[in-house]
């Protein structure tokens, strides 16, 4: 055993898909002697490592890479618990307590219903009270807290009638128990809490899952850099610890972790996430470069001028914060229903009380009937109506590759009637794709793959992806070495082969790579960003769903025009983040609900401002954080699937509300007449909840 303290680190590994991956990672990682233990969390697609302090971040990421997995470090400030997960856990505890209490009280209640009388009934009622009161005090807290908060702001939400119903029912039951009365509603009150807590817990689980999926995807901001020290050596520094004046070594294919000025070397940068510009931009010594942009060509040194919150992104972040405020005014459908429902329920209960008082029933009997009305109308089914449908829908969408951040996102998505779409990275793939591979012969392609697969350069990766997709087997090559700033050299059948940048830059901005054998040029491959394979059909499907679509791009008009023509869309070009915000505000002023689809940092404010928003999995961190939904993969169709699913969910939610109201129309007169005993209340409550959940299950398999 070593005496050194181990460091705990978390990594997001999006490619964990099966039991084989778990075994490979957990057993493979510990073979590295610097890694003491590895534990995979499959649900969150994360790996937790305990490693020796000398293990640097790139080494650890390399250890994952050698097993064939892409890993992204996740900051986990120690001691800072995830608030969402803590909330879920609290709800789960409350569900467990309420479930336990409900079963035991039901056991006692069944004996009372089957005819226990006199001292036995009193004993059972007292036992029920002893179980129910602490349970209500513990498990009811989420509702009481939220109801109190709403009342203090002179508003009402779903929790107000729930809290009043539960508290009144328990108080009256306690009085009944003390006075040897025949009816106690402890079982009803606890059962109500149990069903409602189930709904809350499901809602919370859904949000956790989506958030887990999103954190696994957050990676585009470089999370650190190799920094050149005073002694000429280099060490890894986390993005949070970078300071102005430090000099970063930025390899080709790496994203900048901070703003800076180039001090040595020259390269080209992909700005698409920052501005939407699709063509790479050259950077020479003394040029300014920005955090989040991708170094394409050669390793360079960059002196940090601003890090963390001071980077150019900070401006965009401020705009995003302002834009998001509009969205927080959205009122969830359940709360909108509660605004009508709560006063109606309370009026009914009061009416029942007053009616029976006038009829001369005495205040005790009248109060009993009023409480029965409250319990029977308490929105048990209403509380489940929304979350049950939404969690089924979110689960189904996750299966087709769409992450929904929360239930309100689904509700807002169902309401949109116009779509504004970014071009670079959203309608297009946002990465270089090899254009002219098909006119090369098989051996050339095999040789290209053999050379490309040893490099992490973006163009090599594009070649590797496109060639492996065509089932090409690499040629055997020897003595492979990567020359920074040029490309890859190797020896093949005794001849020198190389893959690198073309002799002369073709048009300056075009991306290309050239394959040479013995110095002879054999083939040139050009690269360009391409439309997503199903962009056309997805846009047509959006139109069929009644959405007006338009392109909002930060790119130049010449670059946008061909895309707009192919898809038959109108476009606005050269837009800054502010322009995009203004475009959304204009649409909103016309009374339209805008769906914003975008990926870049420059889309962040627009994503936050749209009535609903979606971002592809390849989007910038800012984009993914701001968007309501994230779709994975190269296809655009999931956008349409999510929209359809959201609309179906909304239809199911409305049906559920109708079911709940229909049930009330039958039950309320019964309660009014005084026929609702605790037995009838228990049957009605579980019956209506089962009906609502059953209806929600119809959404299963609806996405396919």
């Amino acid at each position: 055993m070593t005496a050194t303290a181990l460091i705990e680190r978390d990594f997001a590994v999006p490619d964990i898909r099966c039991a084989g991956c778990i075994a490979k990672l957990e057993q493979g990682l510990v073979r590295d002697r610097r890694i003491a233990a590895a534990r995979v969390n499959f649900t969150e697609k994360r790996v937790h490592l305990s490693c020796l302090p000398e293990a640097e971040m790139p080494d650890l990421v390399g250890a994952f890479a050698s097993l064939g997995f892409e890993a992204h470090p996740v900051d986990n400030a120690p001691g800072e618990a995830d608030p969402g997960a803590a909330n879920t856990r609290e709800l789960l505890r409350a569900v467990a307590v309420a479930g336990f209490a409900m079963m035991n009280i039901m056991l006692l209640s069944v004996s009372v219903w089957s005819g226990a009388a006199g001292a036995t009934r009193d004993l059972f009622h007292w036992l029920s009270a002893m179980i129910a009161l602490p349970t209500i005090a513990y498990a009811g807290r989420p509702f009481f807290r939220s109801a109190w908060r709403a009342l203090r702001h002179r508003q009402t939400n779903m929790n107000v009638p729930i809290s009043i119903g539960v508290l009144l029912a328990s108080a009256l039951s306690l009085y009944e128990t003390a006075t040897h009365g025949p009816h106690a509603y402890f079982d009803g009150a606890v059962m109500l809490l149990f069903f409602l807590l189930c709904g809350r817990w499901l809602d919370s689980v859904m949000r956790d899952r989506a958030r887990g999926g999103v954190t696994a995807l957050l990676r585009n901001m470089g999370t650190g850099a190799m920094v050149v020290g005073a002694d000429g050596g280099s060490r890894w520094v986390d993005a949070t610890a970078l300071e102005p004046g430090m000099v970063m070594l930025v390899a080709a294919g790496e994203r900048l972790a901070a703003d800076g000025v180039v001090v040595a070397g020259e390269s080209r940068f992909d700005l698409s996430l920052l501005t939407g510009e699709s063509a790479p931009v050259a950077a020479h010594v003394d040029d300014r470069v920005h955090a989040g942009t991708l170094n394409l060509d050669a390793p360079i040194r960059v002196r940090v001028t601003a890090a963390g919150a001071d980077t150019a992104i900070a401006d965009i972040a401020r705009l995003m914060g302002e834009a998001a405020q509009g969205k927080s005014r959205y009122v969830r459908i359940a709360d909108r229903a509660a605004r009508l429902y709560a006063p109606a329920v309370h009026a009914l209960a009061l009416l029942a009380f007053a009616g029976w008082m006038i009829a001369g029933a005495g205040w005790h009997h009248s109060l009993l009937i009023a409480v029965a009305v409250l319990i029977i109308t308490c929105p048990c089914a209403l509380g489940l109506a929304v979350p049950a449908a939404q969690i089924v829908a979110a689960g189904e969408l996750m299966r087709v590759g769409v992450l929904i951040k929360d239930g309100s996102a689904l509700e807002r998505l169902a309401e949109v009637d116009a779509a504004l779409i970014d071009k670079t990275g959203t309608l297009t793939l946002g990465r270089p794709v090899a254009l002219d591979l098909d006119r090369l012969d098989y051996r050339t392609k095999a040789l290209l793959l053999a050379l490309a697969q040893v490099s992490r350069h973006p163009l090599s990766e594009a070649l590797r992806r496109d060639l492996t997709a065509r089932d090409i087997e690499p040629e055997p090559v020897e003595k492979v070495r990567e020359i920074p700033g040029f490309g890859i050299e190797a020896s093949w059948q005794g001849r020198a082969v190389s893959l690198g940048r073309p002799d002369r830059d073709l048009t300056g901005s075009a991306l290309a790579a050239q394959l040479s054998i013995d110095g002879e040029k054999v083939a040139t491959v050009h690269f360009a960003d391409q439309l997503r394979p199903d962009a056309r059909s997805a846009i047509d499907a959006l139109r069929a769903e009644g959405l007006d679509a338009m392109i909002l791009s930060g790119d130049r008009a010449e670059a946008v025009a061909p895309v707009a023509r192919t898809l038959g869309l109108t476009a606005q070009t050269g837009m800054s983040p502010q322009d995009k915000l203004a475009a959304i505000a204009r649409q909103a002023a016309l009374g339209r609900k805008v769906l914003m689809i975008g990926d870049g940092l420059n889309d962040g404010p627009a994503l936050a401002a749209g009535h609903a928003s979606m971002a592809p999995g390849s989007a910038s961190d800012a984009g993914k954080n701001a968007a309501d939904c994230i779709f994975l993969g190269d296809r655009l169709m999931p956008v349409v699937q999510a929209l359809r699913m959201a609309r179906r969910t909304q239809a199911i939610v409305r049906q559920n509300f109708a079911l709940a109201i229909g049930y009330n129309i039958i039950a309320v007169p019964l309660a009014f007449m005084g026929h609702v005993t605790p037995l009838v209340a228990a049957l009605a409550m579980s019956g209506s909840s089962l009906m609502v959940v059953g209806n929600a299950m119809r959404l299963k398999r609806a996405a396919r």
Binding site: A96, L107, L123
Partner: protein
């Protein structure tokens, strides 16, 4: 009636035992990775130890 004096505490005690067991497993993180737990039965133990 006398039987109830024993039976009710036993019933409640068993229920509480279940609740306590659930809380214990929750605190030990057994519910943190539900999908992974389902897959772990397929993971073979490593056979690297010398025979």
């Amino acid at each position: 009636m006398n039987g109830l004096v024993f039976l009710i505490p036993i019933a409640l005690g068993l229920g509480l035992l279940g609740l306590a067991a659930f809380f214990w497993s929750l605190r030990r993180g057994q519910f943190d990775d539900l999908d992974g737990a389902a897959l772990r039965i397929f993971v073979e133990d490593e056979e690297e130890r010398a025979p």
